[in-house]
């Protein structure tokens, strides 16, 4: 029995992603480096197979998963989980993921809206978790993301989150177009004429 086959078997039998640590723990008779090498060999050979599923690195471990482009076939008999995430869930998740650990007040400051309901539903979905309490007056709860978050979104680890875009990319309209119209000085004056009437 070859080491790659043993590892393949272990990962296949597991119900969640299997980390290198766990593999070495389960295979004390093998060298950790050998396990690591065998792993990347396995990933490569499954990729080369070009079959219906592949070995992917996710949530700090390895797992066999179907290839996304086969979705149309799988859904013919596997019930898919409900809908995609709402914009507010995704925004909140992103904030928690990039800024963790952080408090509800910090999330709300960034989003400008109450986030209690969203946080609670993310807690219930086990996508975020309570990490403890912050050492500031009032000792508010602090939140972070979970392993399930990485699993659901197919992320290797938190470092593989998409890099935050720089702001200049806000829109692709060439600079000159807006420049002429809206220098603040003049714009201000004109606008003044009709805006205040709204609040008198």
């Amino acid at each position: 029995m070859s080491l790659p086959a043993i590892i393949e078997c272990l990962i296949f039998a597991a119900d969640t992603a299997v980390s290198l640590d766990r593999l070495s723990e389960m295979l004390p008779e093998f060298d950790r480096d050998d396990i690591r090498t065998a792993l990347s060999g396995l990933v490569g050979s499954h990729e080369a197979r070009d079959g219906g599923f592949q070995l992917v690195e996710v949530a700090g471990g390895w797992q066999f998963r179907t290839r996304p482009d086969f979705q149309q076939y799988v859904v013919r008999h596997v019930k898919t989980k409900a809908s995609r995430f709402s914009q507010s869930s995704l925004e909140t998740l992103a904030i928690v993921a990039y800024r963790q650990p952080l408090t509800r007040a910090e999330v709300e400051h960034l989003r400008g809206v109450d986030c209690g309901g969203v946080l609670k539903s993310l807690l219930e979905k086990r996508l975020i978790r309570i990490l403890g309490k912050k050492d500031i007056p009032g000792r508010p709860l602090i939140y972070g993301t979970t392993k399930e978050f990485l699993e659901v979104f197919g992320l290797k680890d938190l470092k593989s989150l998409p890099t935050l875009k720089e702001i200049q990319a806000l829109d692709d309209v060439p600079q000159y177009e807006r420049q002429e119209e809206l220098p603040l000085g003049q714009g201000e004056g004109t606008a003044e004429e009709d805006t205040p009437s709204l609040f008198e």
């Binding site: 989980k81 507010s88 925004e91």
Partner: protein, 273 residues
Amino acid sequence: MNSGVQASLRNGREETQTLLDGLHDGYSVHLDAFDGPMDLLLHLIRKNELDICNIPIAVITRQYLDYIKLMKNLNLEVAGDFLVMAATLLQIKSRMLLPLDEPEEGEEEEADPRAELIRRLMEYQQYKEAGLLIGARALLGREVFVRTCAEPFLTAARNEEGPLEVSLFELVDAFRVLLDRIPAEHFHDVAAAETFSIADCINEVLSLLQERDSVQFDDLVRDDFTRERVIVTFLALLELCRLKLIRIFQNSHEGSIWFVPAVIQDIEDPPLP
């Protein structure tokens, strides 16, 4: 065209147009789509193709307030968050109308009243886009699937030694569910509790077992039960057991407790009329 339209055209460009666009899309849907004041502001900045770093505050404020007004006119509930932002915008606007003071010591950087808002908007924009990117990934259980067929050998072996997997939230939530299930007042109004005899309860359990093959203990003890009723149910179950009318199962250590009718169990092959 009336004066209102002209006024706004004169001042800028097509804000009216952009507002109209929003309306023609079917406004209630469109308005609901704004995920808070920051989202609305970003939308306005994009629609007007403005430079986020140099927001013309008067234009944005007016359009923002128009939207809120529109929501009100459409009888949509305007969340407090939107109003807080309106106040912020108005405050910034009024501060920008004031002649620029000599830069005060210690806060030269903040001379622009818009600075804080712009910073928040820029940051929000980042997370919003990151959220969209994350949401566009192939999701487990939707686009990507794992092996669902459990390894038979592993499911059989339940392990007591291994690491524990449970979250704090689940712990608190378990406590909440428990307290919700038995409200405090029920401890005190035993006298007022309905008179529900063990016999009644036995009949109820038996009729339940006619409908289904098995009943879970938690199903029998409903949320609204008084403590007395819980005890009566329990005694009824003991009695049913003694009479060998039901059998009790627990699949795993600490698992749910199940009751099955003793008769069906004996016949082996369940399908009874």
